[in-house]
Subunit: 190 residues, 2 copies
Amino acid sequence: MGHPHLSKEQVLDLLTIAFRRHGKDGATIAVLETATGLRRNSLYHLFPGGKGEMVAAVLDHAAALMYERALKPLQESGSPKYRLTAMCRALDDFYCSGREPCLVGVLSLGVPEDLVQQQITRAVTGWIEMLASVIEEAGIPSRRARERAEEAVIAIQGALVVSKALGSEHAFKRLMKRLPDDLLQPCIAG
Amino acid sequence: MGHPHLSKEQVLDLLTIAFRRHGKDGATIAVLETATGLRRNSLYHLFPGGKGEMVAAVLDHAAALMYERALKPLQESGSPKYRLTAMCRALDDFYCSGREPCLVGVLSLGVPEDLVQQQITRAVTGWIEMLASVIEEAGIPSRRARERAEEAVIAIQGALVVSKALGSEHAFKRLMKRLPDDLLQPCIAG
DNA sequence: GTCTATATTTTGATAGAC
DNA sequence: GTCTATCAAAATATAGAC
């Protein structure tokens, strides 16, 4: 008989891990069964839209988690340096120092449907904007702040790829250490 | 009657495009048929090991192409600045200004078999080393040169991810423009 | 070396009991 | 709300003609 062992939130956590590890097509229903401990029909019960709905839900869930853990601290009190450091610490945890890839990076591969592409674009755009806002607060001109924010997200995504490729956490951890100072470095010319 | 329309090289070119676009699992045999214009058995005739062998062969092929187009120019004559600029121009072409992803980034997803993981690690390591060598030639201390080379590869990979996510070539093109100067900037402290 | 055709396994998705 | 069992479609791979 029915035993609701897991909340939908918990299921989403487990699905997220699976999609990050295997990618959209590599994460077969069988893989998702193993990852969650649920049978396929339980998954279809939670997500009647099938795998497509699971992907969309997991993206939403991951975006919310990312906001809660890494982005909201950017908007709280404290110096820009302090807030950026808090974000980097959260990212180091979120991505397990580069051992786990970014869901956005993983799911933007292939030929994503329009909805997924929109979710991805929105997530990345929002991230860049929040970062730019903090950098600007520290006295960096608006346009330059926005460039640096974009470069930061690029570096983070790249570090995840390279860390995975080299099988080493070194690249990612070094970036997390340097990033706050790099982003706030005074401009030579405005 | 047999008509060998395509050389194995040409087939590998077409397979490479397909794997970059669809990823390892998204590139089904049907997709590869369409991409190459060959039927499945012709593909299995060329690659008796099936899809696994195709992936490995495509990685080798892409690494060779990458070396020929972007990395060999790094080792030829000319100033470091000139050679780095040549690489960036080649990369802009190779990745279609960020519209096409990196095969290494795509295939390092999922749980790659040992062989594939080794190919990926070797490709990225080699790239970083060649870059570091050029930067060092320009007078940057060895250790710092190696760091910058790694950061360059990180930025390139990250720019590919972000360009795809934002649906814009802007990030990648800007990086290709800045990279040569950034890499050769004099050190403040050795 | 390429084709048509088919075998086999896996995948995404449902049916129906409890 | 979870299970066992199953389906239809798609995936990987093979057989055999030419």
